[in-house]
Structure formats: structure tokens, C-alpha cells
Amino acid sequence: MNTVLTHLAGNRALIAYAGVILVFVVGATLIPGFSSVFSIRAMLILASLLAIAALGQTLVMILGGIDLSIPFVIGFANVVFASLYGGGMPVWLVLAIVLVGAALIGAFSGAISAALAIHPLIVTLGVGTVVQALVQIWTRGLPTGSAPPFINEFVSLGGSVGPLPFPWLIPFTLILTIATIFVLRRTIYGRKLYALGSNPKAAELALVRPVVMWAMTFAISAIFAALAGIFLLGFTGSSSAGVGTPYLFQTVSAVVIGGTALIGGRGGFVGTIAGAIVLIELRTVLIGIGLSEAMVQSALGVLILLLVAAYGRDQHIRNLI
């Protein structure tokens, strides 16, 4: 029994799911209507958008890196998609351009970080800044255009999947989660990712090529950030280069709450999903009890610290020798 408990306590993703239930119960008792279908659906949509944006952050952190370019790539995809589609280009072509463009941006950051041994924090920050500036110059700061109706429908609050009362985004995120678990557990890529994250030197001796892995992983991160950007376009209805800004810290928080360690080699996407749901639930509760937007931000900071202090602490230096 004791070993079962220690095992459970060691599984950070599981604790995060306990957090999801706990916060839900708290919200349902404090706020009338919190457990209504409408509110749950809204939270699930927002959590799905965050989880998709945080998928790449999870992979990058398993690798031992961090991707600060996610908000900029979200903005890039959001604006470029809207402008090109609004300019009359066919949807499939626009989609291809945006996703390939994002992949190239990510691959560039990842390859440079690994090949020249520069901290990815700096590289992704610099590359992201350039990308956002280019988008702004291209649109002269006034983006136009909109999403095609089927994307609006895909993420809409009023959408439905057959008889089920939620838009296609929810099952899409579910399938994405299962696919990610499969890739991380059952493919060579997944094995290499954990190997490189837990011990870069040993992995290199085992013929894992770090530059290729970093380029691939950052490209995947950018692709999913771009996807989130396109979905956000459908969700909000109009494009803006700054739409991704909150996602910089939210993706990092979701991944860390979900139990993925920044030092690499540990964690997974299942936890990130829980982290994303907890974050959205907490936000909803805080707004629901009548805090101002600014106080919500502060309270969220306190809660993130409490959560991570409870189970996400680093080892003492004496245990690292």
C-alpha cells in the first residue's frame, strides 16, 4: 500500500489531474453556474487552445530547452493566415504556407541553439522578435482578413459534434493527445527525445544527432503554435499580431504544472493537458469571485507558485553530486 502511495505521489501528472478535480469542486461550490454545460464547454475550448500551443513547449522542455517564440509564432500564423485568406488565396495553400513557414522558423531556432550551444531562451526570443516585427511591417501594423467559416465552426462556442454539445476542437485535442502519447512512448523519435533530454552526452554517444533533434522538435513546437494561432483566429474572429502574448507564460506554466521538468528528460503531454485545464479553471474561478483582471493575474502568480512548490521542486545540490 505504501509503495502504491509513493508511486502515486511521484507521478506528477496524476497530481495535476487531482488538481483539476479539486479546482472544479471548489469552483462549483463557490460560483453559481460554474458546472453548467456552457461554462464547462467554454473552459474546455480555452484549455484545448492552450494545450495545443503548449504541446511543442512540452516536447522542447523534455529536450531540456525552452521556446519563448511561441507567442510570436501564434501572432505570425494568426495575421498571415487572415491576410492571405482575406486576399483570396485558397485555404489549403494558405494553410501550407503558414505551417511550412512556422516549421522553418522553429527549425532555424532549434538548429542554431544546438549547433552553436547557445541558450534557446535567447535564440527563440531574438528570432520571435524578428518574426513579429516582420509581420507588423508587412501589414503596417493593421492586419486585415478573417478565418474561413469552417474554422470558426471548428472552435465555436456554439459548435456541436453530431448530438454532442461541443465543437470539433475538443475531439481533435483528444486525438492529438493520444497521438502524442504514442509518438513519445512508441517511436524512435520519442525515445531519442527523452534520451537527449536526460543525458545529452550519453545520447550523442548513442548516435542521437542533437542538431537534427533540436531542429525537428522546435519545428514541431512552431507548427503547433501556428495551429493555435489559426484556431485563435477562428475563435476571436479578427486577427492581431499580439494575440499570442498571454501564451508565453501560460504555456510554460501549463507544462510545469503538468509535471514536465525544465531540466529535461522527464514529463509528458498528458500532464500538460491537466496543467492547461487547471490554469483555465483557476482563471475562471478568480474572475467568477469578482476579482479585477489585474488581481486575477496576481492571484494566478501566487497559485502557480503554491502548486509548483507543492510538487515541482528541484533537487538539493547535495543530491546532484
Binding site: 550551444a117 511591417i137 501594423g141 510545469v256 479585477s292 489585474a294 546532484l320
Partner: protein, 327 residues
């Protein structure tokens, strides 16, 4: 191959010891020359005070950002920017507007105290509680930014004349205080412990260095330098503004990386931080002289940042050396 061990003196040693800063120094002289050529009047001696006043918030924010980086193993303080904003609104709204306090004898110590308190909080969370530093200071980032907006939801207020003068003729005061403080720290045994911890914390720990305590003090120092940055910022904008502070976090990280401070720890110092910050400031000032849009400005410093860290990379230098001397 023979290796000669000649001890170079003076200026040569200054540059050899600061190998990572050379690029930033070169860039500094080029940008300074370009700036002076484009706008000679602005860089005349009688304007030095206000030019330094313009650059001071970024210089000091970069210095604050540098100290945790020196301590290594992912130490970082992303809350520097919002802390500047929070101190700014507390001074303007809390002290000047609400309590009517205008004396520097209260305002300056109050700013320093808030900085120390924030440093202690960050240090406790990151070094003692051992929450991963970027997450810990991200938490305080959100707390400070939210508090600043709660204290003062929109820009307003004004500052007394002595404080405004800190962005003009007396801008040397906060910067000079920071320089003196850093020179003092460099004289203390603590500096060696900090650099040892940053270079190899395991080796430092096995030699008896109290690594968590060293990191805790690094966050304290960051808080103090951030509070000086907040004073310069308040002097510069001459009012309270809750939105301006957080932006300094990312620019300061860029400046520090540009200056050649190693994010892995143990490499860099005040010279590196100041040169990196000065480069960004001069770049901004030069492009503003050309009347370009803020977007072009943003692109330029993103590009310079990526280019500079690439050129600074040890690995790139090794690659070139391997080419030049075939084995």
C-alpha cells in the same frame, strides 16, 4: 605546438579577461560613432546627463538581470521589469499622491526596501524552496504586474523636481550608486563564491560553499539594482505608469546576452551588462534618428541579438579554429 605564457598588462589584459564582451565593445564604438555623426548636438557634453538618464533604466535593469545569471544552473530573475513598474507606481501613487511624501530621504530608502524585499522573496522561492528559477520569478512577475495595475490602473501623477533631475543633470547618481555597489561586491569574498557557484556549483558545494545562500544573495542584489532602475525609470517618465515596467524584462535579457554574459553562469559582470545595454540603447537612438517605425526598430534589435550571440558562441570559435589549424 608551443604555448607562450606572457602576462599582458593594462588594456590588453582588460580585453583578454573580457573575451565575451569584445564584440559588444566593438559594436558600442561603431554605434557611438554613428550616433555622434548623425546627431552631434545630442551627444555634446552638456547633454550627457540627459542621455545617460535616457539609458539608465535599461543599464540598471541589465545589471540586475546579470547577477542571477552569474549564479548558474538556470538562475534567472524575469521579475526585474514588473518590479520596476511596481516600485514606480508605489512611489508615485502610494507615496507622492496619496501620502504627500516628496522627501528623497523617504522615497529612496522605500524603493531600495521594496527591491530588497522582492529579492528576498525571489531568492527564497528559487534558491531555498528550489522552485525552478524561471517558474518562481515568473510567478512573482505575474504578482508584481497585477499589483502595479491594481495600485494604479492607468498612467497618472507627477514627481518632485529632485526626482526629475535624476533623469537630467543628476542622472549619474543612481548609475554611480550601482557602479559603486558592484565595485564593493567585487571586493568582497562573496564575489568569488558567486563566480565559483556559477562556473561549477557541484565543485563549489564540495569545497564547502553554501550554494543556496550564494544564490539567495544573488537575487537580493538583483532586487537592489532593479530598485535603482525603478528610480531612474520614475525620473525619466516623470509619472506613474503600470504598463511600462514589464517590457524591460525581455530587453534586459537581450542586452545581457548581447553583452556576453553566459546564461550558464560564471561568465560576465557589470561591464558586459552595461555594454550590451548601451548597444541596444544606441541602436534604438540611431534608428530613431532615421525616423523608422518601431517595428523596424524591433526587427533590428532582434536580428542584432541573434547575430551577436551566434558570433559570441564558443562553439563557433572552436569550429573556426579547427578550420584554421588542420590537425
Amino acid at each position: 605546438m608551443t604555448t607562450k605564457s606572457v602576462r599582458p598588462g593594462g588594456l590588453a589584459r582588460f580585453f583578454i579577461e573580457r573575451r565575451n564582451t569584445r564584440l559588444a565593445a566593438l559594436l558600442f564604438f561603431i554605434l557611438l560613432a554613428a550616433n555622434i555623426w548623425l546627431n552631434p548636438a545630442r551627444f555634446m557634453p552638456h547633454n550627457w546627463g540627459s542621455v545617460l538618464g535616457l539609458a539608465a533604466p535599461l543599464l540598471l535593469a541589465s545589471l540586475a538581470m546579470t547577477i542571477p545569471f552569474l549564479a548558474g544552473r538556470g538562475s534567472i530573475d524575469v521579475s526585474v521589469g514588473p518590479l520596476m513598474g511596481l516600485i514606480n507606481v508605489i512611489i508615485v501613487k502610494g507615496l507622492i499622491m496619496a501620502a504627500g511624501v516628496t522627501s528623497p530621504l523617504i522615497i529612496v530608502p522605500a524603493a531600495l526596501l521594496i527591491g530588497l524585499a522582492s529579492g528576498a522573496l525571489n531568492g527564497f522561492l528559487a534558491a531555498i524552496l528550489r522552485i525552478q528559477p524561471i517558474v518562481a520569478t515568473l510567478g512573482t512577475y505575474l504578482i508584481y504586474a497585477g499589483l502595479a495595475l491594481t495600485v494604479l490602473p492607468s498612467p497618472s501623477g507627477s514627481v518632485p523636481a529632485w526626482l526629475a533631475a535624476l533623469a537630467g543633470p543628476w542622472s549619474i547618481l543612481p548609475v554611480g550608486l550601482a557602479v559603486l555597489l558592484w565595485l564593493l561586491v567585487k571586493r568582497l569574498p562573496y564575489y568569488d563564491l558567486l563566480m565559483a557557484t556559477g562556473s561549477d556549483d557541484r565543485a563549489a558545494y564540495t569545497s564547502g560553499v553554501d550554494v543556496p545562500a550564494v544564490r539567495f544573495v544573488a537575487y537580493l542584489l538583483a532586487g537592489v539594482f532593479a530598485s535603482l532602475a525603478a528610480l531612474s525609470l520614475t525620473a525619466l517618465i516623470g509619472s506613474g505608469d503600470p504598463n511600462i515596467g514589464p517590457g524591460y524584462t525581455l530587453i534586459a535579457i537581450a542586452a545581457v546576452a548581447l553583452g556576453g554574459v553566459g546564461l550558464a553562469g560564471g561568465v560576465g559582470g557589470m561591464t558586459a551588462a552595461f555594454l550590451g545595454a548601451a548597444d541596444i540603447f544606441l541602436l534604438q537612438s540611431m534608428l530613431t534618428a532615421f525616423n523608422v517605425s518601431t517595428f523596424v526598430l524591433q526587427m533590428a534589435y532582434g536580428a542584432v541579438l541573434v547575430l551577436a550571440v551566434c558570433l559570441n558562441s564558443e562553439k563557433l570559435k572552436h569550429l573556426f579554429k579547427a578550420r584554421a589549424v588542420p590537425r
